[in-house]
């Protein structure tokens, strides 16, 4: 048997082989990398950016104001001057949609921010301490869950009064929808707190606050972001419902929901007035749902290749 000489050469020093070539990626960078590959989710994200530009920058680009009446031009069909037509008082529908978009999106984001803060705080404490406290806190959530939430939304709206408008709606929607978030955060924390790195951090003398804020909640970030992305369209929906029963945004102010509720009355004579706000809501819902599903895939460790 003939053996080549080079088989017996010593291997090259191991140091370079152990060198990590790729820079370490954080959870968010990793998720973003996978999110970018998902076409539907990216389409949703681009649509959302488009809607935000439409609602927040659009009003500066058109010459009509959302509350200027023009009684000579009621119920105009869509045209070059009024791309989406005009409403019962001759107001430009596009201007109203832009303004309504601002209100609807703001309600979505702010109310979810409120329920996120309450949910993360509540769920974090419940999951971290566990045992009796956890049991008690979760029973409280069970009780709140068994109430039809619309009943509380309506009651609270009537207590606060819809004159307060936007702020009240945001607060009410924020404080009735946090239970789902709390449950998810609690579930995550319950698993995470048993991990070795938490034990290590605790051994090194980290305080409870530090453990929660620095170690536990950042690791539960994925589910928190997903839940938030899917909660925003629900808040927009809920606001639309409030407008429908007449305790949402009051005219001359507008949201997509209140525009749709207004348009509903005029549908036999002028279907456009329902169609455009409904389309705006539908597009927003689709975009948020695509983004939410995309985020779920992006944060799912099973999808990691």
């Amino acid at each position: 048997m003939k053996l080549a000489q080079n088989l017996f050469e010593p291997t090259i020093s191991q140091i370079s082989a152990e060198h990590i070539n790729r820079p370490s990626t954080t959870l968010l960078q990793d998720a973003w990398r996978r999110f970018k590959k998902n076409k539907l989710a990216m389409a949703g994200l681009i649509t959302l950016v488009g809607l935000i530009i439409f609602s927040f920058i659009g009003p500066f680009l058109i010459k009509f104001n959302y509350m200027d009446n023009d009684l000579m031009n009621q119920y105009l069909e869509p045209s070059w001057i009024h791309p989406f037509g005009t409403d019962a008082l001759g107001r430009d529908t596009m201007a109203r949609l832009m303004y309504g978009g601002r209100v609807s999106l703001a309600i979505g984001f702010v109310s979810v921010l409120i329920n996120l803060s309450i949910g993360v705080f509540y769920g974090g404490i419940s999951g971290y301490f566990g045992g009796r406290i956890d049991n008690l806190m979760m029973r409280i959530i069970d009780i709140i869950y068994s109430v039809p939430e619309l009943l509380y939304v309506i009651l609270l709206m009537v207590v606060l009064g819809s004159e307060g408008g936007l702020i009240n709606i945001m607060i009410v929607l924020g404080i009735v929808n946090w239970m789902g978030m709390a449950r998810i955060v609690r579930g995550q924390i319950l698993v995470l707190r048993e991990q070795e790195y938490v034990l290590a951090a605790r051994t090194l003398g980290a305080s409870t606050t530090r453990l929660l804020l620095k170690h536990l909640i950042p690791n539960a970030l994925g589910p928190i972001i997903i839940t938030s992305a899917l909660a925003i369209p629900l808040a927009i929906f809920m606001e639309a419902f409030l407008s429908f029963i007449g305790i949402g945004i009051q005219p001359p102010f507008a949201s997509w929901g209140s525009l749709a509720a207004e348009g509903r009355m005029n549908i036999p004579s002028y279907p456009y007035s329902l169609f455009f706000p409904a389309a705006a809501i539908a597009i927003t819902m689709l975009a948020f749902n695509f983004v939410g599903d995309g985020l779920r895939d992006a944060f799912d460790p099973k999808m990691r290749k």
Binding site: F241, I245, G246
Partner: protein, 312 residues
Amino acid sequence: MAKYLLQRIASAVLVLWIVVSLTFVLMHSIPGGPFSREKQVPPAVLKNLEERYHMNDPLSKQYIDYMKNVAQFNLGPTFRYEGRTVNDLIKDGLPKTATIGFLATIIALGGGLLLGSIAALWHNKTPDGVATFIATIGVSVPSFVMATFLQYYLGYKLGLFPPVGWNNGAFKNLVLPSIALGAYPIAQITRLMRTSMLDVLSQDYIRTARSKGLPGCVIIGRHAMRNALLPVVTYLGPFFAYILTGNFVVEYVFNIPGIGQFFVTSITNRDYSTIMGMTVLFCSLLVVFNLLVDIAYTFIDPRIKLTGQKGA
């Protein structure tokens, strides 16, 4: 099982009591009362009215009296509807609401399970796309918009179904309201079913069934369905809550004299006894449904045992 049921009923009564008390407090903190109208009621009349409805008693006494009545299933007289009790309102309205809710449940469950299974069987092919598209439409339009479009186009323009009215529960009057109510949950169920069916179909025992040469419908119906159903059953609790409260929109748009209307009008009218009555009714129904869902678990998946479960 009996012990478990007793435990559940006891906790349900506790939950109901807490919810009713909370609503009582919230309700009395609403500004204005049942007799504050745009036209001022003369003070003497107001006094008599308050006397008659025991509204001049201290709140604590009103609360205790109310609780005593509720314990005997007496929800008290309404403030807005002359000579009728809340029990009357429920007796008249609930069957109508329940009929539509039942039909919507059939539409949502039947359609959702079918669409979800189809989507999973033809994963990433045209039927999947179609099913997902239908499912997405349902979740992206508010129910009042959906109801109005159905009413206007199918009912009014095409004249396929009567656009409004109850008409003694004639079937053609029920079609549009049921579809409008079922559209949102059909979408949710389709999505749940698709995900869980995909999960189940990738399991080894399904491959075994397939390699034995069983036809697709037997694989789905006999082997995959029961396991894939579990996430859907979990969704049924929130689903029934939706059917109960979602009814308001549908009843309003299609002008059906069900129970859903009182849910909103009682609050804007400050009709105290009706608000409380609705709370009690909805919460009890919800508690019962949730209990049924938990029991249904054990039938679908015998591996699940209720008694050992903590706080199910």
